[in-house]
Symmetry: C2
Subunit: 364 residues, 2 copies
Amino acid sequence: MKQVEKLRNYLKDQHVEAAFITTPDNIFYLSGFRSEPHERLLGIIALKEGDPFLICPRMEMNDASTTGWPFEIVGYSDTEDAWSVLKDAIRKQGVIPTSMAVEKSHLTVERFERMRELFKNTTFTRMDDQLNEMRVIKSEEELSNMRKAAELADLAIQIGCEEITEGKTELEILMTIEYEMMKRGAEKMAFETMVLSGPKTASPHGKPGNRKIRKGDFILFDLGVVFNGYCSDITRTVAFGEPTEEMRRIYETVQEAQQAAVEIVRPGIKAMKVDQTARKIIRDVGYGDYFTHRIGHGLGISVHEFPSITDTNNLVLKEGMVFTIEPGIYIPDLAGVRIEDDVAVTADGVEVLTTFTKELVILK
Amino acid sequence: MKQVEKLRNYLKDQHVEAAFITTPDNIFYLSGFRSEPHERLLGIIALKEGDPFLICPRMEMNDASTTGWPFEIVGYSDTEDAWSVLKDAIRKQGVIPTSMAVEKSHLTVERFERMRELFKNTTFTRMDDQLNEMRVIKSEEELSNMRKAAELADLAIQIGCEEITEGKTELEILMTIEYEMMKRGAEKMAFETMVLSGPKTASPHGKPGNRKIRKGDFILFDLGVVFNGYCSDITRTVAFGEPTEEMRRIYETVQEAQQAAVEIVRPGIKAMKVDQTARKIIRDVGYGDYFTHRIGHGLGISVHEFPSITDTNNLVLKEGMVFTIEPGIYIPDLAGVRIEDDVAVTADGVEVLTTFTKELVILK
């Protein structure tokens, strides 16, 4: 368990006695165990000295034990107090730690108050950023899962385009895409698949529905799949029938901005340069006010993860980072265009994981 | 906005000057606006005096405004500090509140620390339980949405049964179900649909995959849909080919326990009585150790919400509460059976929203 080793090294370096990890994605990163515990407690306790353990609902112990986690699994029933079970399990390992690192961006106030009650003499520190750091550089194995996830996403766009015909609804196209993805080995969709058409494309977070596709529509696909625990995230906007001059101008502006942003990615440049490059092009054409979001976000086990690619983030890009590049222009009541790729920073440049064409596809 | 009125009355009763709501499901309850903001800030500020407002990413302002929220919508861009925007918006309404109620079971430690920095002279209290209380009694309109969601879930089980044939995979059946649900007006699935077969049914939270259905399998469906923002959640276990004696015994025990639990539901009894009724029957047959979870959970806008139906919860049931009743027996490596209905407490008894047969279905 290389990941657990990284965590333990962090505890040693920082002289922190324990870490309590509760984010499902971090738990997956550390243990290979993927679970959505809802309101139930799921966590990993890692100790500077001694073995870590996983705490989970009793009914999930069997699933957890089959994921390759080589350490102890502590279960509790729905009527036991999970926190007392946790404390007892820690006590069994030796003394109660006097310092404990937690994920303050995930731990709720309620749980934190409970922990402070249970561990009265323990000092709590945050280790969100360190966990982000651990996950931000993808290993070759992780990259290979992400390539496969991206390949499936490319195929999903292809399938979506083939499904477009006059009168078909957004939801019908969406469901065919998802059906094909699951059949071809996607674990699940990485997030709620978006198939938007016509004026609905102008909503960056719009909801697919029963709107019927018509000639003259833009159709925007935003989707991703999970493969072996890793996400892809692609957006393509295609035209059904001839687009108007304005639709073409919007498309070409986004395409140019997106391509320019992809091309400047390499180790050593700052994240904000990626956003600024695209934003300048869009602004120069006069659509600046209609590009209403950051250009991208980190991608990996989570579909949105560290780092955030904004025009103010001066994080320096490093080999192994993976993020999205997805500028968009949204003209209310008219149309929107977004083009999104997943890119990995390589030793001397960029690898674009998603490869579906970015030329304007006009379906007849 | 009756819901906002309830919240404002709470503030008046409790002499709290403001509430800050950030749970997406509570935001939907209060505003009709459904959004999954990921790491971005989405919230409603309600004031004892004055109008509430919604704060959301700028790119979602348009969507928010179409949901019928009659009050102000404050937007922020990805590079603005959402918290400063929030504070400015509050200040515009008058003075900074000296007391503010928050959802401690949802608010993260990080956000809470940020708020305490921004509102140095404000006392924070929790209002999670009060929000749960507001949502726990369903109105006739809410019930009507839940009946429709349950009806779709019944149909989903029917479709699942029709899809079962030798050699078909769990995922193939699952995708057909989801496709049909979306076509028939489900907004989305309420959670990850579960289609498990053979020994995999023994895992209460197992993952559907490429296992092929075989004669002699139990097939367990656990699924739900969202209709107009409200969830259903049904489980049925059916046999493909003749079950063994033991499989029959497990099934009949769960069926008897589930039915007995449903039948005792009425206003005035305690929640724990529902669990205890089923648990005693299962225990008496000797399967007590294999019923590893609580009998149910509240259902509504969230698929798991208040109240939790456990064998220790002495909450008194009231007309209008809706929850699941879902006992199960899971024999590792052999088979599991779970039967789950959604029930609403009526003036003098119970209304079972899910109606698919609970007799053992044996598919040929």
